[in-house]
Symmetry: none
Subunit: 191 residues, 2 copies
DNA sequence: TATTTGACTAATAAACTAAAAAAGTCAAAA
DNA sequence: TTTTGACTTTTTTAGTTTATTAGTCAAATA
């Protein structure tokens, strides 16, 4: 990936997170990057795909950070799960453009984001499924029924908290209690 | 409460749920009720408050149904919690006007709904808090930290699922996993 | 060849206007 | 006490113009 493209992506990300998707014009981005607008279109197909890539980059960063967590060895599954949940919330807290996609107006108008989100969900579920299986194998966990479904449920739970945490600004108030919530879930899946 | 008022409320509720708030005119409602528009204004202050009362009625019904659940005696807390969560989602699935208030345009323009919602939230949290305390007292449950916060988080979680369930039409797909979510939570809070 | 440019067109949004529809009022009537 | 419908006021809608923005492309540059 070219350096310019990388730069444009960063500048676009900053602009979008500052002014929001619709209030950010391609001209704004080009001007900030000291490039002509045509260059933007040389590197990116459209404003939509540019935004999509910005969000994808935020999720890629999230993925990288979470990968580190999931790769912890000699750590029991519940601790990994705890670290995962905390890290996930912490990073999404800073992922302003991802947060904008949580707004209901994005459901209606920008379904082009669905595949990015769907892929992330699938990845998370895979990771969690693997983690749960490890926990089962080591005898640490006990889960009746489909492991996949538990992975799905956990992702569903975290996504369910995204709106109140990020859009309704309850993050700071509830952060302190998040540990307790995680404790409940840990216990819920433990032997 | 007068009979007419009651009738108007019902007719308004049907009209709003069929055409949505903005596409339903007071004339429509009056005509369906075979009354003059002035009568509507005799019974209701404004279109806004009429809609508010319609939503309030849906939430009142929800409250009544949930009260039955919470009043179950000789039933352990986890079962009550399970019944509560399922019933809540089932009733809201049919509460079309409440669902409309989840749309973003309602956040911006009709904050007059906040007190109705806030009151419902507080009521739910009180009920859950009470339920959890009962479970603690009977030795059935075990929860470190603030009980109130658990109640808050549960309500928050359920509210967080409202958008995907109702606005994104994921209800049918996610319904199947809802039981598992409840199972994890139940076990997580049990002794 | 890969990238950049900026004038260009096409599409969208914003700013107005007039007309229509809807909200809300009220004196008289039931 | 409740209802009525003509009435006034406010808000939407539809149509038009203007301005902004998205997106294109032939030519220039490195």
């Amino acid at each position: 990936m070219s350096d310019t493209r990388e730069t444009l992506l960063k500048i676009a990300g900053k602009a979008f997170s500052k002014y929001g998707f619709s209030k950010t014009s391609m001209d704004d981005i080009a001007k900030t990057a000291r490039k002509a607008k045509g260059s933007l279109y040389y590197h990116f197909e459209s404003k939509d795909t540019l935004f999509k890539e910005v969000v994808a980059a935020e999720l890629k960063f999230l993925k990288e950070e979470l990968t580190v967590i999931f790769q912890q060895e000699n750590t029991n599954s519940c601790e990994v799960l705890r670290d995962y949940m905390l890290k996930r919330m912490l990073i999404l807290k800073a992922s302003i453009n991802y947060q904008e996609t949580l707004r209901p107006e994005f459901y209606e108008f920008y379904e082009f984001l669905n595949d990015v989100k769907t892929e992330m969900d699938a990845w998370e579920m895979d990771q969690i499924e693997h983690l749960l299986n490890k926990g089962l194998a080591s005898g640490e966990l006990e889960l009746p029924g489909s492991i996949r479904v538990y992975a799905e449920v956990l992702v569903m739970l975290l996504k369910g908290l995204e709106t109140p945490f990020f859009l309704q600004g309850e993050y700071d108030r509830l952060e302190a209690h998040f540990d307790n919530l995680i404790a409940v879930i840990s216990k819920g899946i433990s032997k």
